[in-house]
Symmetry: C2
Subunit: 377 residues, 2 copies
């Protein structure tokens, strides 16, 4: 039987690391990219196709699922894994980010966030304790502590106050997780570092989290509009403030070049809606950079999206066909583009893991950037 | 090598027949249901999944494809089969029906129909000769003669005049098909009987078509709002007016009970958007009748859509999950519901073929109607 949670590093190359998280429901190869399954589905993909891209773990959104179909309902139906037919690990976010970005009439206090659903206007309360309860009802494997993600345009005092409240919420999350009842299959709990772009605040946050103790540590509050340069500058110090023997998860990131730069700086896990959302909108990621399949120059292009890609879309379908599907608004276009993008992201992660194992990550990163950023396609 | 076109009857039971159409690109088991792939895709389905439902042939729409991506473009890209990755037979309609129902500013003359595209307002002309050319450019296996489908609310004189023009167009279609150049893989040409609900007009139409000579014969001008009773009354005489040694294709039909009643009256082939379109809208067909998955009573129903169904959706997913996906507007809901409905239709066709082979079609039809129409689900 697999352990509840273990993280084994296989190799390190510079700050870049590769390893394996072992959990009851399966192993997660790191660096790992987690496709986002917001509403109990990775949009436009069957779960077996998600797995076939190479995904070891997917992400579910606490905020969305608690509103529809409802956490208690999911629990009555046997949990999220059975509900959506995904038997490998699921990480659930805490709802903290989306309750601030999506809900209506929210009221933030030390207790938590009171808000109205963006779907039907119903009134809800999300606290560290309720977030832990919801994630337990869903049957989450990796539970995220409830935090506040402050707006990026606030001053240092507000960022500091928010971070300190998030650390009190992290403590309450830990206690609620530990005393709230059995988690199915032995769940893990991750804390979330805050502090925006400030090294001292990030340090204080990391120390507070380490004091509480978590299975893994997320870097929150980035990818909220600060730009890649500021994000990388923060990642030059933030990962090393966190325990080296636990996985580090950069939330909500990102573009392929973001992932390479973050792995280079010691990040182990990622999630992002970008490959699926932009796939539905006609953007394909390739080793030669992104392309928009709606562009008229693809109308009679018989090549696959990416000559080097191993995905089912690239094995069969031409850019010309994908261009047609996108222009016609066909669901199959969303399906095939999503499958390509998610597969491309997993191929990128596999290439990074391989490069780290072989001690040639710097060369890989240089070569990747030349191809990916250098092309005008 | 398979013949260009052969139709072999294996069994007849009352008026119901079962057999096989053999063509270069594959065999078609009759009675056959052809999923509709309007814009070079059966909506929300990969072609291999369409085949896995049991479909031997799909339908493509000449009107849609000539406007987007364009017949000449499809030809330059290697034809419709390669474009959309379907290597089995494709039947294309003539465009006659949709040019009258979808286009704008159309002008009907003896020559053909001049119209503006509903997509971009561009001006086009569809004639028997152009319809044959478009279907040849697409690489169609079963080409339909260009006809006019008159509105159902017209008087007998107008219906008669329309039918007579359609018969002149059938003659022009035959000549253009025979002289217009090589059809890929050896295509077949079907004529279309018109005459609305009038037995004498249907007889005259059938005689005119037989005189011209076609590989198969369609029954057009039904399923346009006349209701099942009037349609069945027409099918009590129309199929037997057509050659018994050629397949009879009832265009645009229909609901499961329509199919059973039409097979009972001697029809061999069908196409309809109903299973795919209504699947996207949340309607599932089952042996116990249709159900709307959006209904609140399915919110915690852990049963499959249909306990007897063998499709991938019913093997894995609960009504509760499908209800959730539909309520959330998720693409996966459209995918799973479409796959179920298309599979259910093919299972129904297979059950009818089996019943005919075993000489118990009347019993099958009675039992089917009891289950399908008797339930209040």
């Amino acid at each position: 039987m697999r352990p509840r949670f273990s993280f084994t590093l296989a190799a390190q190359d510079g700050q870049a690391r590769t390893g394996t998280i072992a959990m009851r429901r399966g192993e997660i190869r790191t660096p790992a990219f987690m496709p986002v399954g917001t509403a109990a589905t990775v949009k436009a993909m069957k779960p077996e196709a998600v797995r076939a891209t190479g995904a070891d773990i997917i992400l579910g959104n606490t905020y969305h699922l608690m509103l529809r179909p409802g956490a208690e309902r999911v629990a009555r139906l046997g949990g999220l894994h059975r509900f959506m037919n995904w038997d490998r690990p699921i990480l659930t976010d805490s709802g903290g980010y989306q309750v601030m970005s999506l809900s209506e009439l929210r009221k933030l206090t030390e207790e938590g966030v009171e808000f109205r659903s963006h779907i039907d206007g119903s009134r809800h309360m999300l606290t560290p304790e309720r977030s832990m309860e919801v994630q337990r009802l869903l049957g989450s494997d990796i539970v995220m502590a409830f935090d506040e993600c402050p707006r990026a345009d606030q001053g240092r005092d507000a960022i500091a106050a928010s971070m300190e409240m998030s650390m009190r919420w992290a403590q309450r999350s830990r206690e609620a997780f530990d005393t709230g009842g059995d988690h199915a299959e032995g769940a893990a709990l991750f804390g979330i570092q805050q502090g925006a772009l400030d090294a001292d605040l990030r340090r204080a946050s990391a120390d507070a989290l380490r004091e509480i103790g978590f299975d893994g540590y997320a870097i929150g509050g980035l990818a909220v509009g600060e730009g890649q340069e500021a994000m990388f500058a923060t990642l030059d110090f933030a990962p090393s403030q966190l325990p080296a023997d636990a996985p580090r998860y950069l939330m909500g990131v990102g573009k392929p070049d973001d992932l390479v730069g973050a792995v280079e700086r010691g990040v182990d896990m990622f999630d992002c809606v970008l490959p699926s959302r932009s796939g539905r909108n006609g953007q394909a990621f390739t080793w030669n950079g992104p392309l928009n399949i709606r562009n008229a120059r693809f109308a009679e292009d018989t090549r696959p999206l990416d000559e080097r890609c191993l995905c089912p879309t690239c094995a069969i379908y031409s850019r010309a066909y994908l261009h047609h599907l996108q222009k016609a608004g066909e669901i199959l276009g969303a399906m095939l583009m999503t499958e390509h993008n998610l597969s491309f992201y997993q191929q990128l992660m596999a290439a990074m893991r391989n490069a780290i194992e072989n001690g040639r990550f710097a060369l890989f990163a240089t070569s990747f950037r030349q191809d990916y950023l250098g092309s005008d396609e």
